[in-house]
């Protein structure tokens, strides 16, 4: 029986957060600190012929101007991934070629932010404009080449063909797709589009740096990946790793948007050159335009299936708009297949083809869901279409055909991240329970009947209910590593040092709970220090739904070694064999004592004091690392009831139910919070989030107000239920929960819309304008908007 896991303990930083005590990057200020502003390209595609920065340099208070004139153009990728990164090396910090409106021209460091901003206006740049490429469907083979003989290259042996504007290509072929399609009783072929989106973390991107008293560079930044920041800053700013310390303070949300190394090299260069502290914090507009986005996608599904609904052949062809640079281009693409196609694992003939293409538009990157969100929109509707055509109930269909415990999918091996994937069996799933519970809580069968005639009615308001089943992964198998260090203190408390990065997800708390469980010691006695490259051991960072599963496993191993050492000392003190001892409530006690025996016990404090000061003196301490041989998928079922106003095109959500299998929820409240946040983000992405560009490639909706965000008033009733399974390879049975639930809204709402109206939505977002055009049966316009 677990005591500290599967328990909703309060976040270790909770009260400090809600009382405003905690420091975020922008809260750090240092004496003599310089303020940096960045000049961004006003043109989507241009060559800089000349930068005249003399006017800026002549201004009082301007200290440094960085541009290609004084910063070496070193190719790298801004993607904070394991090394060597699977993203192409196609970016320089300050280049001569501007590839999108928002690209970096130069940076000014000045005594105040006001002076830095004014100085930007004094910089004269002569651009030679080139014809931009703004339509991703026209990118491959376009006469406009976004990376034209610029030396960009892949760091690992993967396909990269900049001459044809191809940033990444991923393919997998299982069975005989063409033959199977031809011989299927039914066929379908549909194409879907999802748009750009911004992560909209409340905290804008920022970085601050200074030299410590021994001349080493210290960077605090809004990063999900401090160790990757250290490595990449070293390469780009040409500063030895040994001279760099990266700290992640509190961070105001990430969602993948801070898995990029964008600002850190700039502050690093300013501080390294001027020897002065420096700060750069992006405005909200800069976050929208110049950081990273969700990739725009086109997905085409071709399927061949039989009268009973069994699918013989399925082909997913994905086209990804990588934008101006290929950050995460390859891996998001691979995940568009690897996180969807294994769900219905009994399809014998599967094909995945995908390309990521360059355009002169903002840059895609990691975004919660990571390709899965993009492809579940079509995948979930295609399954609904097949069920409709073959008179299957979709809930029963998923129960019958989805991957089960003990089963595998050839996709796991076929689609890896820049290399072959890892074959694995699913060893935990409660998807069928999720489906049953979700159906019950949403009133699925009643509502399906109740709204059965909506589509044929001529009522203005029509209701429908739809659903989708989902999976994701937990960590990147055989690539990513996490580690932990622990030591014991005099009073029986412990320091837990982890490289893992708490973005607000609560991972500091979750990891403390795992250590608590092993050591049967309250969470208050686990003092967590995280994300400091000088003081915590390596962790790949917060991405790929991995911290609980992967870093948590490292913590568990580490705590188990600490426990072993404690029991050895306890055995010595109690004069009993180690095998007869156990830790219980902060003491080492004899297991199974006799009925009338006084239980021999020694407190953890006494044990530590003994080992520090008295006998066989040694620090009780341990370190452990973990790499996962697999990536067990979490599962979920999402159900949504909608009301469509056929006069205005507004889709109103009446009820949203999500049932989620994340293995053991280490902290159920935090796990629910992950699901609720992801669901609401998914809903707003489905309903209205989008990037609107001018014909010149300028982002038009670059503020919260113009972009649109749901507020507390806008959310429908949302029910989240965790349906635990037990994943043997995870710490105390845990899998992941952070990403999966952003994938459900697109297909579930689209399926509910179909139930209500009989029409299909092939394009997100489902704005009233688009919905009306669908209801009126207007012909599709071609992308991009």
């Amino acid at each position: 029986m677990s005591k500290y896991v599967n328990t909703s303990v309060e976040k270790v930083d909770g009260l400090a957060l809600v009382t405003g005590e905690e420091y975020y990057t922008n809260d750090f200020t240092f004496d003599g600190m310089l303020h940096i502003s960045v000049l961004h390209s006003p043109y989507p595609y241009a060559v800089i012929e000349e930068i005249d920065d003399s006017g800026a340099k002549a201004m009082e208070g301007v200290v440094e101007v960085l541009s290609f004139k004084n910063v070496r153009e070193i190719l790298y990728t801004t993607a904070g991934q394991g090394y060597p990164e699977p993203s192409p090396y196609d970016t320089v910090l300050f280049g001569k070629v501007m590839r999108f409106v928002g690209d970096n021209v130069c940076a000014v460091a000045a005594e105040t932010k006001e002076i830095a901003d004014l100085a930007l206006k004094k910089i004269k740049v002569r651009y030679k404009q080139l014809k931009p490429l703004l339509d991703f469907e026209a990118s491959e083979g376009s006469p406009t080449i976004v990376h034209d003989k610029d030396g960009s290259f892949p760091k690992i042996p993967v396909f990269h063909d900049p001459a044809k504007n191809i940033a990444a290509k991923v393919e997998a072929d299982i069975g005989q797709f063409d033959n199977a399609l031809e011989h299927s009783e039914h066929r379908l072929d549909h194409t879907f589009y999802v748009p750009y989106a911004s992560h909209c973390a409340m905290e804008p991107h920022g970085a601050v740096s200074y030299l410590d008293r021994r001349g080493r560079l210290v960077i605090s930044s809004t990063t999900q990946v401090p160790f990757h920041v250290r490595r990449i800053v070293s390469a780009v700013a040409e500063i030895p790793v040994s001279k760099i310390r990266v700290i992640k303070p509190r961070i105001g949300g990430g969602f993948g948007g801070k898995q990029e190394v964008l600002l850190e090299p700039i502050v690093a260069l300013v501080t390294w050159r001027t020897k002065r502290p420096a700060k750069l914090v992006y405005s909200r507009k800069e976050v929208f335009v110049s950081t990273r986005t969700r990739h725009q996608y086109r997905t085409r599904f071709r399927a061949g299936f039989n009268r009973d609904g069994s699918i013989e052949a399925l082909h997913l062809d994905a086209l990804e708009n990588s934008g101006a640079y290929g950050s995460h281009a390859l891996t998001v693409l691979a995940n568009a297949g690897s996180k969807t196609l294994p769900l219905l694992n009994k399809i014998p003939n599967l094909r995945f083809t995908g390309k990521g293409v360059y355009t002169n538009l903002p840059v895609g990157g990691a975004y919660r869901g990571y390709g899965a969100t993009e492809s579940y929109f079509g995948y979930g509707q295609v399954i609904d279409m097949i069920c409709e055509e073959t008179h299957n109930d979709i809930v029963e269909y998923y129960k019958k055909w989805s991957i089960k415990s003990g089963e595998t999918s050839p996709i796991f091996r076929a689609l890896g991240e820049g290399k072959e994937g890892v074959a694995m069996n699913v060893t935990s799933t409660s998807l069928n329970e999720c489906l049953d519970l979700g159906a019950r809580l949403s009133g699925w069968y009643e509502k399906r009947k109740q709204h059965a005639h909506s589509a044929a009615s001529d009522e203005r308001f029509r209701r429908g209910i739809g659903m989708a089943a989902l999976m994701q992964g937990s960590a990147i198998p055989e690539i990513d590593m996490a580690s932990a260090y622990m030591k014991m203190n005099d009073d029986g408390s412990f320091n837990l040092l982890v490289g893992a990065t708490d973005l607000g997800t609560g991972s500091d708390t979750v990891l403390a709970q795992i250590a608590s469980e092993v050591l049967d010691t309250p969470v208050e006695k686990i003092i967590v220090t995280s994300s400091d490259t000088d003081h915590t051991p390596f962790d790949k960072g917060a991405y790929a739904s991995s911290t609980t599963y992967l870093s948590g496993h490292a913590v568990k191993k580490c705590a188990e070694e600490i426990k072993r050492q404690i029991l050895v000392v306890g055995a010595d003190i109690l004069e009993l064999p180690v095998g007869e001892l156990e830790i219980e409530d902060g003491r080492v006690v004899k297991k199974n004592p006799g009925r009338n025996e006084e239980v021999p016990a020694v407190s953890l404090a006494e044990i530590c004091q003994s080992s520090l000061y008295q006998k066989r003196q040694a620090q009780i301490q341990a370190t452990a690392s973990h790499v996962s041989p697999k990536s067990p998928p979490p599962f979920a079922a999402h159900f949504v009831e909608v009301e469509v106003d056929t006069a205005t095109g507004v889709i109103k959500l009446l009820n949203y139910v999500a049932t989620v299998d994340c293995g053991t929820p280490i902290n159920p409240t935090l796990a629910e919070g992950q699901a609720q946040g992801a669901i609401v983000n998914g809903i707003s992405y489905a309903l209205f989030e989008d990037y609107h560009f001018s014909p010149q490639g300028i982002l038009l909706n670059d503020t919260f107000g113009k972009y649109g965000m749901l507020t507390a008033c806008d959310i429908p009733p949302i029910t989240v239920k965790l349906v635990a399974s037990y994943e043997e390879s995870g710490p105390f049975g845990a899998k992941s929960v952070s990403e999966i639930n952003i994938n459900g809204a697109l297909p579930a709402i689209a399926n509910a819309f179909h139930h209500a109206t009989g029409k299909r939505l092939f394009r997100a977002p489902f704005t009233p304008e688009y919905v009306l055009s669908v209801l009126e049966g207007k012909k599709e316009r071609r992308s991009p908007r």
């Binding site: 909703s8 309060e10 976040k11 930083d13 909770g14 009260l15 400090a16 957060l17 809600v18 009382t19 405003g20 005590e21 905690e22 420091y23 975020y24 922008n26 809260d27 992560h199 909209c200 973390a201 409340m202 905290e203 804008p204 509190r250 961070i251 105001g252 949300g253 969602f255 405005s283 909200r284 973005l503 607000g504 997800t505 609560g506 409240t669 935090l670 629910e672 919070g673 609720q676 946040g677 992801a678 669901i679 609401v680 983000n681 503020t703 919260f704 107000g705 965000m709 749901l710 507020t711 507390a712 008033c713 959310i715 949302i718 989240v720």
Partner: protein
């Protein structure tokens, strides 16, 4: 130049330029609990009370504040003496990244002062100017509702 401001009950001399917003002056003066999320009055992270009324401090010129009382989230409760709202936020998982939390707490506090027994709709409406990307708002509304119940049980008005 410097000017006197009354923040969380204490008079403070703060550096101020005539074109600076209250947000800038507060943050430069060390009140970093007031967060800057958009500087356009759209996210609510910089919400403070001015004479008890919630305002986005990025939309107020500092020099216009004069002697009006300014209350930040730390004026509502502190780490060592948290307000019930702050306790329920932390206990019920209404805080994820915490960046919106100071503004959310200020907005909720302002609501409970006017309306100690709000419905869920009234709570949501009071938080309408505060954006959050982490929580989906569910646990925030839950926490405010719980705080209202607990305050009612204590028979106490929210205090400053």
């Amino acid at each position: 130049m410097r000017a006197e401001f009354t923040v969380n009950g204490a008079k403070r001399l703060l550096d101020v330029n005539p074109n600076e917003t209250l947000l800038q002056v507060l943050r430069n003066g060390g009140f970093t609990e007031v967060k800057s999320g958009c500087q356009e009055g759209e996210c609510g992270a910089c919400l403070v009370l001015l004479e008890g009324k919630p305002v986005n401090s990025c939309q107020v010129l500092a020099m216009s504040v004069g002697e009006k009382r300014i209350t930040t989230v730390k004026g509502i409760g502190s780490l060592h003496a948290p307000h019930i709202l702050q306790k329920t936020f932390a206990r019920m998982g209404a805080d994820q990244c915490g960046f919106c939390s100071p503004g959310m707490v200020v907005a909720a506090y302002s609501l409970l002062k006017k309306n100690p027994k709000p419905t869920r709709e009234e709570i949501a409406s009071a938080l309408d100017g505060n954006l959050c990307r982490c929580t989906g708002y569910v646990k925030i509304v839950d926490a405010v509702a719980r705080a209202a119940e607990e305050l009612a049980k204590e028979g106490g008005e929210p205090h400053v």
